[in-house]
């Protein structure tokens, strides 16, 4: 875990087992991923673990990609939402969380809001984060940060959050994906059938 200095104090950056960064600001008792989970990242999981019954098979994944087509990680200028994984129900993520480690889980609304609150400040230390990523991260990470594709809380996707076993959504999808004037920090119930192509998630690692 590396310490970086921000205006309001310091923060820590660490990398999950797929090489994607998580950030923990001073005072937080968790780290939260800097991006919603990407297809590249989820593919790393599928490469390591393979299918689980009908889940994570080639057919399952290709069906998912029909909702939100895959885009090369090198090509992030247009339709950036296509870089991120959407349309996977919470119950189908259990093996992914198990793979990431036992301290990993979905964020709560307040954890997600804290990230949103810190997003401007995080962007200011972009150069330092890139420097860290060059050594340790998966190839897409520095490329996306260089292109300001983080932390995507102002505009990105609907993201699944959980509180007291209640699963709901937060965030604001890209306007080009879904024309809306939502407040990103409002927690809302969304119609899964209608919106699943724009519902992603990010991960949180609880501090011990």
């Amino acid at each position: 875990m590396k310490r970086l200095i921000m205006d309001s104090g310091h923060c820590y950056i660490e990398f999950d087992r797929t090489g994607f960064p998580l950030i923990r600001k001073k005072g937080w008792n968790y780290s939260i991923s800097l991006f919603p989970i990407s297809k590249y990242q989820f593919e790393s999981f599928m490469i390591e673990k393979g299918p689980r019954g009908g889940l994570y098979t080639d057919d399952w994944y290709r069906e998912l990609l029909k909702l939100n087509p895959r885009r090369s990680w090198k090509d992030c200028d247009t339709n950036p939402w296509e870089l991120f994984l959407t349309g996977v129900k919470y119950k189908d993520l259990r093996y992914f969380f198990k793979f990431m480690g036992r301290d990993f889980r979905l964020p709560t609304p307040s954890e997600w809001k804290e990230l949103h609150k810190a997003s401007k400040e995080i962007k200011q230390i972009k150069a330092n984060i890139i420097k860290l990523c060059k050594e340790k991260a998966a190839p897409p990470v520095s490329h996306w940060i260089e292109n300001d594709l983080f932390p995507l809380t102002d505009e990105g996707l609907f993201e699944i959050v959980i509180e007291n076993n209640n699963v709901c959504c937060i965030g604001k999808p890209y306007y080009k994906l879904f024309s809306n004037l939502y407040n990103p920090t409002s927690v809302r119930e969304v119609n899964w059938k209608v919106c699943k192509n724009m519902i992603g998630f990010r991960i949180v690692k609880s501090s011990k």
Binding site: D58, Y61, W73, D75
Partner: protein
Amino acid sequence: MQERNIFFDVSLSFPIKLVIEPREEAWASLYKVADGLIRCLFGRLMTLYFLGNSKSYSFTTLNDFRENAPFWFSKNKNRVSLIRPILEENRNFKGMLIVISSQPPVDLDDWKDTDIIKKTLFVRLSKEPFSDELELNEVDAELGTNQIMNAIGNPVTRIFIQGKGFVPIRWEIDPKTETNVFYTDSLFKLTISNPPQGGIELHLKYLAQEPPLLFIEREKGQTECISGEEEQSYFDEPEWKEIPKKIRKIVEAGISRKDFTCPQCGSLHTYNTLICPQKDLILRGLPATCLLLTKEKYLSLSDQYAYPLKDSIITKYGEIYKWKNKKWKYIKEVEPYEKVNNGLWALLHRI
């Protein structure tokens, strides 16, 4: 610059690794194509991958493949068709990957413009091309094993050796193959035409500022570059031979630029006359090539391309090049009995 020796051991047949899509519905067809290819390529193809997994499986015989393939497949079936784990694993692989698949790997676009995708052949079980944008090497499996074999063939088009200040002096190639030396843009290049399929061994004596490199160009893919191993001289020292006594006076006359009495017609010729207009060759007993002469001995350059002089070289064709401003500059063709060093003269003895 000093004369040095180098040895190149060049293998030209490239190894192949096979990648199969682990799709259950297509397994029978995938297996049939794979089996046909392994039969044709045995010895070069002994490693198998499945899309979506970096784990490789090795087999030593065709039966070994036939016995184990269903089991290996069952371990991988229905994995997501991702090419990333295989390409990452084989980033430095010098051979070719053959991917047999019924549909394009989902992450194919991530590999656009990479070297490794240029060295990958897709054998597809579908009529539709996998990509129009990526300019993939792909072939329809329905065309049969022979057509696939044609697509695999990536023949060597040219091999050449060059380097800073490089001049080849003498070389030997096994198996024997046609070679040529080209001089362009102040550089010498030793090229090997029609190299044999298996490979070559080359011993080379040369002059250069740093060891030269051997380059292999194939019909497809990037030029491969190979460095050699320095070695002790493989060649014997060039043999200086006695000038036959009956022509020694003529050579002496040539060196001192004096007319001489022709032993054939008995009349007087100028010093640079090599053929008697009434009879035949005057310097009988000397080979027809560029010769280096002392007053008693001669060295024939027939077995070597060049001979190093002080800051210059002379080639077997009698051309003199000078090393100037870190470049080889062509000066001229040597004149008969031209002094090229202290106590050393050159003669292009042409018939």
